[in-house]
Assembly symmetry: C2
Homo-oligomer: 375 residues x 2
């Protein structure tokens, strides 16, 4: 990546820490922090903001995942999007949904509600991988949806969404994707991969304040579903614009994905997310992905040299920004590293490292040196 | 109110504008802006914040409405809370809900969904007032809920929640309250008034950034309902604390109102809301209410002297921080005032004025003078 020095100037955190926990919550780049500060100053001084609001970053998120702006709704966080998807689908007593045993709870919980009465099938991982043949065996004609994280939070395993959607669609099921561990780090191609629903908050790899998230619904599905939650934000623009006279006798849902919005989103978070999306698109998601995979390559090699057991599959096509390796007393190691200014996290008997494009080879080296001394 | 000068120093907006549109979106007080700026600086420089997070202001909001912290959940906005209430209740084909023709759309829309199949009865206002005898006539044994705004957004009519809950409960119905136009301005006593569900965002009278809101569920009801949306934030604290090993095979819902939370809230907004709640409680909600009613008294007298028709009922017990009076071309008048630095809004063929405790008698006078010149 060119101009690494200039890029790092955009990340004040690099002066204070070796931060490689983007799978947790990310530091704000300078340009994001600046725009949020301006929002605060404006609202304090003038009760309104001069920041151009327009679309709240919808076209930018759409561009990032290869979708149309009309297919994007604001959501507070990823979980909200997944719950909308879970609640618009219909279930029979014989219905099932297919997920994996590597999942983040919010991907599974919406279907564990007693009132749905749906069976959840967990495809078991094999050495940290979810095999497509196992998914194929699990999905049947009673499957209503396949629900997965594009990238799994524990070990960074990356699913092949195109094949998953093929398997799901062959059985009349929908593909529902939690993209929080890939959006901003790995390429996402919702159209090519024929994804039905996809949600992501922006406070991890998308380098934004919490409270901003986007929810993608494939265009042909939008008008098929009545949203589970509705409010002033769900209705057609014409209704919104005539704010002087709300029509409270009829619910005229928007024909775009904004029908899944309910009320006032966290504008303060969305101005930050919009700015962060601009930055990510300017650098280019392909460049970011390439850079992240280069850094994690380096880390994986070093971890193997140390004789530590990788919990992340090594094959490039199922890798991501997350590397996990086994270690004794991971919480203690994480604490020791933290005291030395290195931020990673302890997950599943191991250490989870998640560097972003602005991290350096030297920072990976430094982490490895410290790990060596912990061992 | 004592120390008005000192209080106004806390509101940088007072140096730039006569801001009397707190029923819209409010300016941030200095202490709120400061704490949000600190959050941004910390997250940019250190990837974490030194602001004590703890409870996100739940005990403060609980204190404000006379409830217990365990009865409070975070919500992105008011509409989300109302939708949770609408979705946990069960409806028969004969069921109805009772609301009013003065309502904000988000109070009504959740029950206009086709999939619910519930009849909505709109109690008609009489000269801007909703009469209790009319509510009494509308509620019957098929009524599942009475849903109202504590203070109506158009003309500021304030309901008597105690009597409404009595009427609802006599018929086995629930009382669901949108408190966004009263929380931070008027006293709310959820316990005394026996309210079942109440929701409010904080970006109006509670002087906070958008994205922060609270949802109250009466304690005896919490465990009765399975939340419509669930995620990692819905489960018991014990599960949350052992983040290393999420239990994704069982949904062990929290026994507190946090079971109605889903995922990451907008922390950046909640640190602001916590600070704003501290300010409001320090000044005292009774003092704030008294001050607001004094300012609106003055405005009502002046409007009557001008011969303009009030759209706000005059009786003190059903008044609030909102005053609306009829005027020709309200949008044009609002625009003219805006150009002179006076912020109010046009609503329902009239001008809606909504002053807060830090506004002054002189500011009301100035508005009246300008209105006189418009007429």
């Amino acid at each position: 990546m060119e101009n690494m020095e200039k890029i790092r100037e955009q990340f004040p955190i690099t002066k204070n820490k070796v931060f490689m926990n983007h799978a947790g919550q990310s530091p704000l780049p300078k340009q994001v922090a600046d725009v949020v500060r301006k929002f605060v100053d404006d609202f304090s001084n003038f009760g309104t903001t001069s920041i151009e609001w327009n679309d709240g970053g919808k076209p930018l998120f759409a561009k990032l995942i290869d979708a149309k702006p009309e297919e994007i709704a604001f959501v507070e966080n990823t979980s909200v999007g997944l719950n909308i998807a879970a609640n618009v689908l219909r279930y029979l007593p014989s219905s099932n949904i297919v997920t994996t045993d590597l999942e983040y709870p919010s991907v599974v919980y919406p279907w564990l509600r007693k009132s749905l009465g749906v069976k959840v099938h967990y495809v078991k991982n094999v050495d940290g991988k979810i095999l497509l043949e196992d998914v194929e065996k699990a999905v049947d004609d009673n499957t209503v949806a396949v629900a997965v994280s594009h990238v799994e939070y524990v070990n960074g395993f990356r699913h092949d969404l195109r094949v998953l959607s093929e398997i799901a669609h062959e059985h009349g099921a929908y593909l529902i994707v939690d993209a929080i561990q890939s959006a901003g780090a790995m390429q996402i191609d919702a159209k090519r991969d024929n994804v039905d629903f996809l949600a992501s908050a922006c406070y991890k790899w998308l380098l934004s304040p919490p409270g901003a998230g986007y929810f993608y619904v494939k265009d042909e599905l939008i008008e098929k579903f009545e949203p589970p939650f509705v409010g002033w934000a769900s209705v057609k623009d014409e209704v919104f614009e005539t704010i002087d006279f709300w029509d409270i006798w009829n619910l005229k849902l928007s024909e775009t994905a904004s029908r899944f919005e309910v009320g006032s989103p966290s504008f303060i978070s969305l101005v930050g997310a919009t700015e962060a999306l601009k930055m990510v698109l300017d650098i280019g998601i392909k460049n970011i992905e390439r850079r992240i995979l280069k850094l994690t390559d380096q880390l994986i090699d070093a971890v193997k040299d140390l004789g530590l057991k990788l919990q992340t599959p090594e094959e490039l096509h199922c890798r991501s920004g997350i590397v996990n390796f086994k270690i004794d007393k991971p919480q203690e190691v994480a604490e020791k590293l933290k005291n030395k200014g290195i931020v990673i996290s302890a997950r599943s008997h191991g250490i989870r490292v998640s560097p972003h494009f602005y991290n350096t080879e030297e920072e990976i080296d430094r982490l490895v040196e410290e790990i060596k001394q912990c061992g």
